[in-house]
């Protein structure tokens, strides 16, 4: 060190490979950033498809005894909606965000296995194509949970159910390969000095997400294989008339299905934990508690699956055990929420769009968390499960835990991906519409469920105020849809007309902001040694200290020189 005088940290992008151009470069790419962009664009397209399906569902339910769609199409709509949002939007969208930002956040050049990474994406696309091509023949109609015997060849003879099975296989394989890739990348390719205690919290959640996927997905893969052989090759795993068990399916499905919830929301928690400190200008409150609660939730998530089966014929000992384990999981989840509020506490909060989406996410997720306590109490579950109460619950959990954080991530990282800021005005409008839309659509659904309206019915009689409640919910869903549309317009407009962002528009804490926006193919020439959980803060401080001493050495290449760009 005596002879080496480190220069001011700056982005030097001299010796980078020429960026490949044209559509073939996208098909053949193994660059984690391009793969990440393809993931995000593709999954957002599926999000829009799933959203249109949701709006059709709400239109049908907008008035009692409606005849807009047939029962057959209605069942297909909610099956497609649920499956799309889980398998083709939330889970792969998190993979897309992680693909783009995980290597950047840990100061790596790429993922550990770039070609495997490309395979993950193309498998996802294949799964989506197989599934959506079924709309030209017979889409599946047994719900996203494909409960047997309804999903067996006797009661669902159409090929749609098989399309669903292959979707689970293809996207599942895509996710497992991606998860292994993330795990290996995090374990081996962190920048010098980035110990486990300095890992960005988003990376902690992706690590946990990967472990959950690696444990949970083989189970659903086995289950759908058994369903496939039951349907076509004469086995009887789930056929009670031949010695099989219909309950076995529910166990296998929910052993995957419940961890899947955490696979969807934990990365969302990670996004919130990254964004809040940036806009509160404060370090995250209780880094260790947040990282530890992520791991605790993941572990407990494997012990609670049978709370989806409280009304099934299962022994009472299981009911009691699962109620208690489900209660336990509320503790680390509650800890996270309180830590986030404490992060805001005594900060100087800047009301930018990513922060608004995060604050909204916490507010919405809390409602889903609290209604979860009702559902975990099995006698109460007997009344509210399989009704609109549970529909409201899961939408509050997933919108608050995954979808709103994804929108926060879009606004937060769009400048890094494209080099341009998104419009704050449109962003705030979009947030307001989405937030109001969620509350209008889903709060009233609790009451619909308590009044006795089961889920997955294509029509209902106008008893009590059910007609009014459903009309309110339908209006809300269109407000929500309008909010999403505003963000799409915003993104499209900002690609061309957005204000140039510079490397570090938010004065953020993590290493992805150390490179240019968009980053060069090799991401970084050098990455300085990481000395804390907020390396960019250290770098900015160092730059300020030195540029104070040598004012001429500053200039346009210094990240901290690109101060916040107002829009």
């Amino acid at each position: 060190m005596a002879t080496y005088a480190p220069s001011i940290p700056q982005v030097n992008a001299h010796h980078v490979e020429r960026e490949a151009r044209g559509w073939t470069s996208w098909i053949t790419t193994t660059d984690h950033k391009r793969i990440g962009i393809m993931y995000m664009v593709l999954t957002f397209v599926f999000f829009c498809l799933g959203g249109v399906e949701a709006l059709l569902i709400r239109l049908q339910l907008g008035s009692p005894d409606n005849t807009l769609v047939t029962p057959e199409i209605y069942n297909q709509l909610f099956t497609m909606h649920g499956t799309t949002m889980v398998f083709l939007f939330v889970v792969p969208m998190m993979a897309g965000l992680a693909n783009y930002f995980l290597p950047l956040m840990i100061g790596a050049r790429d993922m550990a296995f770039p070609r495997l990474n490309a395979l993950s994406f193309w498998l996802l696309l294949a799964g989506g194509i197989v599934f959506y091509s079924s709309i030209f023949w017979n889409p599946p109609e047994a719900g996203w949970t494909s409960v047997v015997p309804l999903a067996s060849s006797t009661y669902s003879p159409s090929g749609g159910e098989d399309a669903w099975i292959y979707l689970v296989h293809l996207t599942g394989l895509s996710s497992i390969l991606g998860a292994i890739n993330f795990y290996v990348t995090i374990a081996n390719m962190r920048a010098r000095g980035m110990s486990w205690g300095r890992l960005p919290l988003f990376v902690w959640t992706i690590l946990t997400y990967s472990v959950l996927l690696i444990f949970a997905l083989p189970v659903i893969a086995a289950a759908v294989t058994m369903l496939l052989t039951d349907r076509h090759f004469g086995t009887h795993f789930f056929d009670s008339t031949e010695g099989g068990s219909a309950i076995l399916w529910q166990h296998l499905f929910w052993f995957f299905g419940h961890p899947e919830v955490y696979i969807m929301v934990l990365p969302g928690f990670g996004i919130i934990s990254e964004i809040l400190p940036v806009f509160a200008r404060k370090p995250i409150f209780g880094y260790k508690a947040i990282a530890a609660s992520t791991v605790a939730i993941a572990f407990l998530g494997f012990l609670t699956w049978a709370h989806h089966m409280f009304t099934a014929p299962v022994p009472e000992a299981i009911l009691v055990f699962v109620m208690l384990s489900s209660y336990f999981i509320a503790v680390p989840t509650g800890v996270k929420i309180l830590n986030w509020i404490a992060t805001l506490w005594r900060g100087t909060i800047e009301y930018r769009t990513p922060l608004l989406f995060c604050a909204g996410a916490i507010a919405i997720f809390l409602i889903g968390g609290l209604s979860g306590v009702f559902l975990a109490t099995f006698p109460i579950d007997w009344q509210v499960n399989e009704t609109y109460f549970v529909v409201a619950h899961m939408h509050f959990v997933l919108l608050g835990g995954a979808v709103l954080p994804i929108f926060a991530a879009i606004y937060y990282w769009f400048p890094k991906i494209t080099g341009r800021m998104m419009s704050e005005g449109l962003g705030k409008l979009s947030f307001a519409l989405i937030f109001v839309g969620i509350l209008t659509t889903f709060l009233i659904q609790h009451v619909m469920g308590l009044d006795g309206m089961p889920r997955r019915v294509y029509e209902y009689a106008n008893v009590g105020h059910l007609g009014l409640y459903n009309a309110i919910s339908t209006v809300g869903s269109f407000i929500l849809g309008a909010g999403v549309l505003v963000t799409i317009v915003n993104a499209a407009r900002s690609l061309k007309f957005g204000v140039v962002a510079g490397p570090d528009p938010w004065k953020a804490n993590t290493l992805e902001w150390f490179t240019t926006s968009p980053p060069p193919v090799n991401n970084f020439d050098t990455v300085p040694r990481v000395r804390s959980a907020e390396p960019m803060k250290d770098i900015r401080r160092e730059v300020e200290r030195r540029s104070g001493a040598r004012a001429s050495a500053g200039g346009a290449t210094v990240p901290a020189g690109a101060t916040q760009v107002g829009v």
């Binding site: 409960v147 309804l150 219909a246 509020i341 306590v373 109490t377 109460i380």
Partner: protein, 278 residues
Amino acid sequence: MGHLLSIPLAFFTPRSGGSPNANEIDSLFKVTLYIALVIFVAVEGGLIYALVRFRARKGAVAAQIRGNTRLEVGWTVSAAVILTGLAVLTFAKLSSIQNPPNSSAEGLTLAQGAREYASATRKLPPNGKSLNIQVIGRQYIWQFVYPGASEPDGLGAPYSYENMEVPTDTTVTLDIVSSDVVHSWWIPELGGKFQAVPGYHNYTWFKISKPGIYRGQCAVLCGRGHARMIATVTAVPPAQFEEWLATQKKEIAEANAEAQKARAKLNQQTGAGQVENP
């Protein structure tokens, strides 16, 4: 206080009033709701307060706090304590939700059922006497089979579809099965829902004191007709129930006799054994 609160919150509680188990679930729900409301107001209030009070202002400097172990341990333990309390409460309520009481004196006079037994999942009243009705789910109609088989193997029992007729003041235990896909038995005012799974038995009970019609419908997706798989429970005084059951039995016997004649006639026309007797 609880009584005052229950009025505006009535629309935010499950339906009840038909049977004691539904009422007990309702009261457990209310206690949980009060606890949840307090947490909801405190946490959302804290969030909104922080967002408003600590917004960026000129001259404001963010406090660089990285955590507070005592505080964090404090709220972790408090959350655990609240949930432990809720678990204790649920266990205290559990027996009144799960265990059926004896029928009232005014109820149907029940013989000690020979085929009735209690098990871990199937609860019977303390005196072992209940009116046991088998609930069979099938696409897309509910069938109810009442005691009173005329043959030793259980055949010839009176049954009805869609509407279950029951006597008031009598403990009715249900044995829920399915003949095809998974269904779920649910009459909101008479307690929780229970899946009908092929190959399994599921059990619940209710005891109605007020005559009337209680409505519900299948609660697990069972196919295209799921929304129309409705069920009603009609509670009538015991004497009227016995009358109804006798009529039902007679009508079924008459219809069976008619059918047997029709089958015999068909066999005569098409050749013996072409149409089988069930």
